[in-house]
């Protein structure tokens, strides 16, 4: 069973990964992706909004799809919603597998779909102004890889 969570408050990626690793010590390899709010840009805050009836169910369906497609010992998906500042974690995906190729592919797949095909809306604040972010063409192109 994948472990999928929508985090409404900051989470600790290192603690998440440690717990995930401990729970899957029969797997030889763990691939993870951690996405954070970038520091050093003009953006001083980022907000993600979700739509409760669809967002978490969509993440769960995506995780189930990854688990059915690759041979995984475990899969973790944690995604923030709410207002974040530079350095804050946004998303953590980790896949444990006996063979590392499965773990790489599943993590990559989940990230591509979270980025372009999950129910989040993003806005950024810079210079005191909030601005909604439109989807990028690259995000859609990424989906055609699968």
């Amino acid at each position: 069973m994948p472990e999928v969570r929508l985090a409404l408050a900051p989470f600790d990626p290192a603690a998440e990964l440690t717990a995930f690793g401990a729970a899957h010590d029969e797997a030889g390899g763990i691939v993870s992706f951690l996405g954070k709010v970038r520091a050093g840009d003009a953006v001083d805050a980022l907000e993600l909004r979700h739509f409760a009836p669809l967002t978490l169910p969509g993440m769960q369906a995506l995780a189930a799809q990854a688990e059915s497609r690759w041979n995984l010992a475990g899969l973790l998906v944690v995604h923030r919603s709410g207002v974040m500042v530079p350095g804050d974690p946004i998303v953590l995906v980790a896949a444990a597998a006996r063979h590392r190729r499965d773990a790489f592919a599943a993590t990559d797949f989940v990230m591509d779909h979270l980025k372009s095909d999950s129910w989040f809306w993003k806005r950024e604040r810079s210079g005191g102004e909030w601005r909604w972010i439109e989807p990028r063409e690259q995000d859609h192109a990424d989906l055609t890889r699968w």
Partner: protein
């Protein structure tokens, strides 16, 4: 009474995340949109805006809102 929810940039256009909609009878989506400001109605009708009634995705064709319904307008996502 029904509720309209506006996600993402649609919230700015609508002037807020939601709007209450007095209903005297089941009302077609087209009639609801006709009662809104023209620029908002146009944005809500965009081909890439998805609809969810009471939390479930629905098609706009033939959609009718009844008392107590909640209709969410979901523009293209930009998540992650």
């Amino acid at each position: 009474m029904a509720r309209l929810l506006f996600l993402g940039r649609l919230e700015d256009l609508a002037g807020g995340p939601e709007r209450a909609l007095p209903l005297t009878a089941p009302t077609a989506l087209a009639d609801i949109l006709a009662g809104l400001p023209a620029d908002l109605a146009a944005a809500l009708s965009g081909p890439r805006v998805r609809l969810a009634r009471n939390g479930a995705l629905v098609a706009p064709e033939g959609l009718v809102l009844a008392e107590g319904d909640e209709l969410a307008f979901l523009p293209p996502v930009s998540g992650g």
